[in-house]
């Protein structure tokens, strides 16, 4: 069974600085997807970024980028130029490629506070 672990329950960063959130996962699969979702205080889950395991190039979306280390089963999220609106809970999630179901397995989440 796949598991996703986020070892940092809480983090904080000063506005305009850079922060990295950690995520590790355990799987015997070779092909899969990894996601970072953001949950602000409004509770609405929003996709931040996704990565396909067979792509070596790290995904980027504006200020958000990932460091995907397949051999180490690590998938960290880097937020550059942090903004107050980035304050949220961030979830790392895993999807098995071969499942044909799209089932997501979530980590426990990291609460990020951006300070002015």
């Amino acid at each position: 069974a796949q598991t996703v672990t986020q070892s940092q329950p809480e983090m904080s960063v000063q506005e305009a600085e850079t922060v990295t959130l950690s995520c590790t996962y355990d799987t015997s699969e070779n092909n899969y997807y990894l996601f970072w979702y953001k949950q602000p205080p409004s509770r609405q889950m929003i996709l931040v970024i996704r990565q396909e395991a067979y792509k070596q190039q790290n995904a980027t979306e504006n200020r958000f980028s990932v460091n995907f280390q397949k051999a180490a089963k690590s998938f960290s999220l880097k937020i550059s130029d942090s903004q107050l609106g980035d304050t949220a809970m961030y979830f790392c999630a895993f999807m098995k490629h071969a499942s044909n179901t799209g089932k997501l397995i979530f980590g426990q989440g990291t609460t990020l506070q951006v300070k002015p």
Binding site: P9, M45, R50, T101, G102, K103, Q108, G109
Partner: protein, 115 residues
């Protein structure tokens, strides 16, 4: 498009009562999911559906039932509510499980308290 809508937003149940959480999406998505989120935790999959008439259990299905008679609707039924079902419930949908269409869109959630 309204996206994924859920009703009600909040509900308090007494132990042993039953209720249905409604979920509707207007994006013509084939795949729909129900998750629960306990305080300070990640989301856990309760049930999912890959199309009308097809449903299957997720990680934590006990105490719940679902149906999928239409593409748009995916209600979650709680029978004999228990305090352990106190949680926030999220419905989500996606067009497919492969890129580029495997982003799951989430509803705003239903906060359920069982006393």
């Amino acid at each position: 498009n309204a996206g994924v809508t859920q009703t009600p937003k909040f509900r308090i149940l007494k132990i042993g009562q039953s209720m249905t959480l409604q979920c509707t999406q207007d994006m013509n998505h084939n795949y729909m999911y129900w998750y629960r989120q306990d305080p300070g935790m990640g989301l856990k999959l309760i049930y999912y559906s890959v199309g009308a008439g097809i449903t299957d259990k997720g990680e934590v299905p006990n105490g719940y039932n679902v149906s999928r008679s239409t593409t748009e609707d995916f209600p979650l039924r709680l029978e004999l509510a228990a305090p352990s079902q106190t949680s926030v419930y999220f419905c989500a949908s996606s067009y497919s499980w492969t890129r580029p269409n495997n982003e799951q869109f989430f509803g705003p959630g239903t906060r359920l308290t069982v006393l």
